[in-house]
Symmetry: C2
Subunit: 205 residues, 2 copies
Amino acid sequence: MNTAKNNGQAKGRNNNDKHEKIMRAAIKVFAKNGFHNSKISQIAKEAGVADGTIYLYFKNKDDILIKVFEERLGEINAMLNDQLNRLDNPVDELRFCIRGYLELFANNRALAEVIAVELRQSHKFMREYVPAKFAEYLNIISRVIREGKDKGVFRDNLLPGVIKRALFGALDELMVYLVMTTAPKYAIDTLVDQCSELFLRGLSA
Amino acid sequence: MNTAKNNGQAKGRNNNDKHEKIMRAAIKVFAKNGFHNSKISQIAKEAGVADGTIYLYFKNKDDILIKVFEERLGEINAMLNDQLNRLDNPVDELRFCIRGYLELFANNRALAEVIAVELRQSHKFMREYVPAKFAEYLNIISRVIREGKDKGVFRDNLLPGVIKRALFGALDELMVYLVMTTAPKYAIDTLVDQCSELFLRGLSA
């Protein structure tokens, strides 16, 4: 194409807009109807695009669902990396990882519902997906734990590869509790405080 | 029916045998083919019963899957209750809860795979199932935590309703790691030790 550079940039932005619009629409539709009952045509309608447009950006319904997970988790990772660079001690850093995960989902119920419930119903996701961004997320946690060990703040006999999974499992279960319970007994601040104190005392040297 | 008591018992046992046989067959078939691709006829063949026999015991495929979860978790609960009564301190009790969960699944890979992967793909399970045995399991953990608080072994400001979920989430994630990783880097004893020390120090008064 003989478009000028500016035109190319505008087109790139336009593409990103549509990609993002379709993702946001899909989160709403999946959360409302469930993944299996959702139709591409409903997502297209919600996004205000033609059905065929969806296939310019995504291979199929599973692909949209997996990209929702990957891209949102990629955003959490970027946000965590950015914030963790500003904090100078592993205690505050771990606390931030805990609060960040729970707050993100508490502030975006539809996304939380899609990740807590619908994502796990995708056979493709459970069996075939190689979770690149998820591994990256876990490694941010293990980096904080390793840093804490190096600084003598956390115990020396801790295995970051085990602890990162235990912490993620705890956070994920609390997220599911927050999202799936009709009137949760515990507020998000309580969950963050209990979980932070539990893990920080558990890791403490 | 005018069957004598003994006959009734024999029939009851026979029913239980078939029920159990079908469940065991289903675990194998689900783990091998995945829940969505499994057919009632495959389960019947594996169990050595006629297709129609399955429907005498279960409503449908979702019903078999959910009963596998409920009944196996019921067995874990019974085993935990039995053992916890013999232990006399909350530290050993919590350690036993952690080892019990991980060992059960490590010793039964097909069951673990069905619960870790296939169960979550059932829309019925994720959306409609009221998890009675799961709630019972969580309450065994919170009872141990409450006992520890009462005895002054665990911190006073702990909320057992939050901690039980954090611990379950951690255990479940470690179980998924054990089952879904081709050559896990960490042995089950390492996972049990790391997780026990993390939580016991985290809860400690």
